[in-house]
């Protein structure tokens, strides 16, 4: 109540001191910085006396700068952009506002967001420390011309992992190209399926390692090994030149990644193969997400009211969410943003397929998994052990046992 009175007084204060323009700072990284900048004209009509400074840094640089600012509780922006991978750590900082509390009272909007993205930004002790703005629902992109050449039907790819591998063999034999970029991609998907409520991918609710016990790890390793042994993967790492080249040449038939990859394929990764790509659901109906961006307000901000207003504009405004998707490939986290003509349109690049509807459906099915601080290093450890299995023939049981031990060791720090 008191806050809203203060908020009402704000315009009067602003008008009466017109020479003192308020400045709020938004810290972001590409391409979220562009999303923010694109949203500013509409917002500034409502707040003509507020100047918004968008401070843009490279992805890792940005999070380093935010870490530094949080450590010294100084130099913090008014709106902080956080990517999913860093959410676990930043949530624990205790330096971000709990948006569930008044005056933000964001819980009233909970139903308007994709459920899992909302849950990812919630912390047991610190509350709702951020709001999601874009998500990366998982999608499988495949070359339909290669499938035709190999006599493979798309359903074979999505049915289950057995038929996926079978399709891969056919593709290898008849079309002479690889199924996936790296065997690890298969493992990544398998371990994300079947995560129980309250668990993370690598850690259980008590923070203990799941790597040794959860069956999905063993299955993931086994399937990856079979992919490698059958020669179905190109052994290229995502985002390397070789990977780009493989996609361009069609050497890799299937790429499973966030839906936002569609835009990149179209714009610059493989523009010449327009019409040859399709998007489909992931095998065995796995629904998982790749990344996602969130906005938070540091406790030390001096402009929380304006910061909150801007965040509302960016996340709760259907037009802004759709604009971000249309122009910058940022898949809306707001459910209303996922409705509308743009989503129903056939996409020429995908041969007229209504790909966006597919992605929207996947987004609904994703179940939240808890983020833990040590997730990045757990992922590292598991990948390193998988490499040993794939390249050095280490036994899967030994690899998983070692991985479990190392992940557990880290958990206790």
């Amino acid at each position: 109540m008191v806050f809203s009175i203060r908020f009402l007084a704000l315009p009067f204060l602003l008008c009466s001191s017109v020479w003192a323009q308020t400045v709020i700072t938004v810290a972001a990284f590409p391409s979220v910085d562009e999303v923010v900048r694109a949203a500013l004209p509409a917002w500034q009509k409502k707040h003509p006396n507020v100047q918004v400074k968008v401070v843009s840094r490279e992805f890792a640089d940005h999070h380093t700068a935010m870490t530094t600012a949080l450590s010294a509780s100084s130099g913090l922006p008014d709106v902080m952009t956080i990517e999913y991978g860093y959410l676990g750590r930043f949530a624990q900082s205790g330096g971000l506002e709990d948006l569930a509390q008044p005056p933000y009272a964001v819980r009233q909007h909970q139903a308007r967001f994709v459920a899992y993205a909302w849950a990812q930004a919630q912390h047991d002790s610190f509350g709702q420390i951020a709001l999601p703005t874009d998500i990366g629902p998982g999608a499988m992109f495949y070359r339909v011309d290669t499938l035709q050449k190999a006599g493979v039907k798309p359903e074979q790819l999505s049915a289950d992992w057995e038929s996926f591998l079978g399709a891969g063999k056919q593709i290898k034999d008849k079309a002479g190209v690889f199924l996936v970029a790296h065997a690890r991609d298969v493992k990544d998907l398998v371990i994300r399926a079947g995560v129980q409520a309250g668990e993370g991918i690598y850690y259980d609710a008590q923070g203990q390692s799941l790597v040794g016990s959860a069956a999905r790890f063993k299955r993931g390793f086994e399937l990856a090994k079979r992919v490698r042994d059958a020669g179905l993967d190109a052994k290229v790492n995502a985002w390397s030149n070789e990977w780009g080249e493989s996609l361009k040449r069609g050497n890799v038939t299937v790429q499973m990644m966030g839906a936002w990859l569609g835009g990149h394929l179209q714009n610059w990764l493989a523009p010449q193969s327009a019409g040859q790509w399709r998007s489909g659901p992931l095998p065995e109906g796995v629904a998982t997400s790749w990344g996602g961006t969130f906005y938070a307000i540091p406790k030390k901000s001096a402009q929380k009211a304006l910061a909150w207003d801007l965040i509302e504009h960016l996340t709760l405004n259907k037009a802004q969410q759709q604009l971000a998707f249309e122009r910058f490939n940022a898949f809306p986290a707001l459910l209303e943003g996922q409705a509308g003509a743009y989503f129903e349109q056939p996409v020429a690049y995908f041969g007229g397929q209504k790909a966006r509807v597919l992605w929207r459906d996947t987004a609904q099915k994703i179940k939240p998994s808890r983020v833990f601080r040590n997730d990045p290093i757990a992922e590292e450890i598991v990948n390193a052990e998988l490499d040993l299995v794939l390249t050095k023939g280490k036994s899967i049981d030994a690899a998983l046992a070692d991985a479990h031990r190392l992940v557990q060791r880290r958990a206790q720090r």
Partner: protein
């Protein structure tokens, strides 16, 4: 006799030339690649083999870049910080190097040990405490936070000491003292003029280090208008969506002043100056 006497004629055998040229081509290749990439569109660069000849998109790439960052302002800051940083470094390092090379004094060993020790410590972990200092001094968003802290780098002091030890004979200093020259006068009037090659080398290294440094500006600068160029260039990089062509175009622009500085300082380096006149 000075260096100039054996100056102009090249007297290398064919095998020597072959190695030199092959080596030179190897050195040149990625540099050349940078220029070529800067003239291409993003989708043409991100492939194997990458383009080997120039394209037509240089201006487009520059336009993309200028759209994202305050290009000239960032370049200006880089130049400003680079020049001041170099000037201060040359001054402070030659002073300290001279002290270590020509004098005996009680704290000499421990102080030089300190100089060496500071070279051994990797700098990442110093980021956060450095930030705290800058914050305390209210130097955030100020260029002086970039050129002052590292104005007397250990490496420079070390280099100067070694050079002075080998290039400046004691007799010269003694002679000057007998002529009534003050200690600081010896530094300024005798030693400094003889430091041409060392100044050339250290100046070059310092300018390049300052130019390429992005960690310092990352933690100190709060707005894009205060970024130095490499930081601004990095801010265009996205985890999945980098405009490679624009990035390369920016890298080309970033490297041109370094080339100019190199040409400028290599002349000082080679000059040889009055070394000959002294060593008779």
């Amino acid at each position: 006799m000075t260096q100039q006497a054996s100056e102009s004629k090249a007297t290398l055998g064919p095998v020597g030339w072959l190695f030199l040229v092959l080596g030179g081509l190897a050195m040149l290749a990625p540099f050349y690649a940078m220029f070529v990439f800067s003239t291409h569109e993003r989708s043409d660069i991100f492939r194997v083999p990458p383009p080997l000849w120039f394209g037509e998109h240089f201006l487009d790439n520059i336009a993309i870049l200028m759209d994202r960052i305050p290009f000239w302002i960032n370049l200006g800051w880089s130049l400003y910080v680079g020049i001041i940083s170099t000037a201060l470094t040359l001054l402070f390092c030659s002073m300290a190097g001279f002290a270590f090379a020509a004098y005996e004094f009680r704290l000499k060993k421990p102080l030089f040990g300190l100089v060496m020790a500071t070279m051994l410590i990797p700098s990442f972990l110093g980021m956060i405490p450095s930030f705290m200092i800058m914050d305390l001094l209210a130097w955030i968003d100020q260029p002086r936070a970039l050129y002052l802290p590292a104005a007397a780098p250990a490496m420079g002091i070390f280099l100067m000491r070694q050079y002075i030890e080998s290039a400046i004979p004691r007799e010269l200093l003694e002679a000057a003292r007998m002529d009534g020259c003050s200690e600081l006068g010896i530094y300024g009037r005798i030693v400094v003029p003889l430091l041409g090659p060392a100044f050339g080398t250290l100046g070059l290294i310092t300018f390049i280090a300052s130019w390429n440094n992005f960690i310092g500006p990352l933690i100190v600068m709060r707005s894009v208008e205060m970024y130095t160029f490499p930081l601004a260039l990095r801010s265009v990089q996205s985890p999945v969506d980098t405009q490679w062509g624009a990035l390369m175009a920016g890298s080309v622009v970033a490297v041109l002043p370094l080339l100019v500085i190199f040409i400028f300082s290599s002349r000082r380096l080679i000059a040889g100056l009055t070394a000959g006149a002294v060593k008779s």
